[in-house]
Amino acid sequence: DTAVSQTPKYLVTQMGNDKSIKCEQNLGHDTMYWYKQDSKKFLKIMFSYNNKELIINETVPNRFSPKSPDKAHLNLHINSLELGDSAVYFCASSQGPFGGISGANVLTFGAGSRLTVL
C-alpha cells in the first residue's frame, strides 16, 4: 500500500496549457508539501498545508495553485504552463509542520511527477 501516491507519474504537455497533479497520503499525517526538483536536482519547497490550511507559500508564480480538500489530499494546479515549469514535482507529508511542538518531523515523499512542457 503506497504511503504517498501522486498521479500522473509522467505529464507531457504544450506551453500555455493547464494541468493538475494529484497527491494522496494514507499515513494519517497532518502536513503535506509540494517540492520542485529541477534538472540539476535542486529541491525547493513550493507549498505546505497543515490540516488543510496553507502554512508555507514560497515565492512561486501565481500560476501555481495548490488545493487541499482534506488533510489526506493536496493537489497542484498549474495554469498557462511555461518551458521553465519542466521539472519533477514531489509531494510529501509529515506528522506535523516544522517549527511545531515535535519539530524534527520526517518527510515521506511520493515517487514524483515528471512534467515536460514542450
Binding site: 504517498v4 540539476k40 536536482k41 535542486f42 529541491l43 525547493k44 519547497i45 505546505s48 502554512i55 508555507i56 514531489f90 510529501a92 509542520p97 516544522f98 517549527g99 511545531g100 519539530g103 524534527a104 518531523n105 520526517v106 518527510l107 515521506t108 515523499f109 511520493g110 515517487a111 514524483g112
Partner: protein, 113 residues
C-alpha cells in the same frame, strides 16, 4: 540566511571502503539535521536525523552521521560501502521554531565494484 552546503557534487568510492558525504550548515541556534537518499526515478527516503544528545546518529542501511557543533557540520558516513549505496544524498536543516526545512544541493555517491 539559513543555508546548507554540500561541497562535493560527486563522491566516488570503491566497494568495501569507508565513505563520507559532507554537509555543513549556516543556521542560528541548534537546528534539526537530516539526511535523505534518492534512488533513480524515486522520491527521497529518510535515512537519519539529529535532534539532540549523542553526536553520532545511526540510521538506516548502516549509515551514520556525526554532528559537530563547532564546525557546524553533519557528515554522513558508512564504514563499508556497497554498490547498492550509489544514489543521490541530500542533507537538510530545520531551524528550531521555524516552519522551514532547507535542503542542500545533493551529492551523488558512486560506489564501484
Amino acid at each position: 540566511a539559513q543555508s546548507v552546503a554540500q561541497p562535493e557534487d560527486q563522491v566516488n568510492v570503491a566497494e568495501g571502503n569507508p565513505l563520507t558525504v559532507k554537509c555543513t550548515y549556516s543556521v542560528s541556534g541548534n537546528p534539526y539535521l537530516f539526511w535523505y537518499v534518492q534512488y533513480p526515478n524515486r522520491g527521497l527516503q529518510f535515512l537519519l536525523k539529529y535532534i539532540t544528545g549523542d553526536n553520532l546518529v545511526k540510521g538506516s542501511y548502516g549509515f551514520e552521521a556525526e554532528f559537530n557543533k563547532s564546525q557546524t557540520s553533519f557528515h554522513l558516513k558508512k564504514p563499508s560501502a556497497l554498490v547498492s549505496d550509489s544514489a543521490l544524498y541530500f542533507c537538510a536543516v530545520s531551524p528550531r521554531g521555524f516552519q522551514k526545512l532547507v535542503f542542500g544541493t545533493g551529492t551523488r555517491l558512486l560506489v564501484s565494484p
